[in-house]
């Protein structure tokens, strides 16, 4: 199953400069694996060495933050859109 992933500007250089890419998988974790296989420089940008979501990114399945769903195990349907957004913060 192929799912659309929306990329923030900061990560677009890793995916050839485009705002949207597609990857195969049935969970967020699986499509991230597919994404990193296609674009190896994304490794370390999304997932920590411990295998969890990096704290500097938020990931949404449609309108829902996957941290409040099943995190990387969140299931996906073909019509879902996954959005990666940066954590924007300061003081």
């Amino acid at each position: 199953m192929t799912v659309e992933i929306r990329m923030p500007t900061i990560l677009r250089p890793h995916v050839g400069g485009v705002s949207s890419v597609k990857a195969d998988g049935t969970t967020v974790g699986e499509i991230f694996d597919g994404l990193m296989e296609q674009f190896p420089s994304l490794k370390g940008q999304l997932i920590t060495e411990a295998g969890d979501l990096h704290r500097f990114v938020n990931v949404y399945r449609n309108d829902d933050d996957i941290r409040y769903l099943e995190r990387l195990d969140t299931p996906l349907n073909e019509s879902d859109v996954v959005s990666i957004i940066p954590a924007v913060a300061g003081g």
Binding site: T9, D65, S83, I85, V88, A89, G90, G91
Partner: protein, 145 residues
């Protein structure tokens, strides 16, 4: 040769930002800026074409985190209008309009414009910056009618 963009803001957008910063007191307020990139680069051309006030998820007078759902909404609206997110604004309630060490440490995108409004004194002070690899570069900010 690379030139820093000049931040250009309409008076209406300036007032939106200012109003949001005052409304946010005593906490810091924050929001996103959308515009266009210089063709073929990731550098904003400097003209702000849309302003998106967002909730400060920290609800704090010392720090801000742009509510991710508000950010997602801003990204979608900007894209629908053919724009890009080109920066972020936030208020400093008790300090100068200059990036704090936290601002520098957490600066997420080196191409973005970082706009800071200080409400420390009677009159608000707005300044704009780029933050790249820990270095702060102020950029000129002009108001347009």
């Amino acid at each position: 040769m690379f030139t820093e963009p000049t931040l250009r803001l309409t008076e209406g957008d300036y007032l939106t930002i200012l109003g949001h910063c005052y409304d946010g007191l005593p906490d810091e307020a924050c929001g996103m800026l959308a515009g266009r990139l210089v063709h073929g680069t990731t550098v904003p051309d400097g003209r702000v074409e849309a302003v998106y006030p967002c909730a400060n998820a920290d609800a704090s007078a010392r720090t801000y985190t742009v509510d991710p759902k508000d950010l997602l909404r801003a990204m979608r609206d900007a894209e629908a209008r053919g724009l890009e997110i080109v920066g972020v604004y936030h208020s400093h309630t008790h300090t100068e309009a200059w990036p704090s060490p936290t601002d520098v440490r957490q600066a997420v995108d080196p191409s973005w414009l970082y706009l800071i409004v200080s409400l420390k004194d009677g009159d608000p002070v707005l300044r704009a910056f780029r933050i790249q690899n820990g270095n702060i570069a102020e950029v000129a900010a002009v108001l347009e009618s």
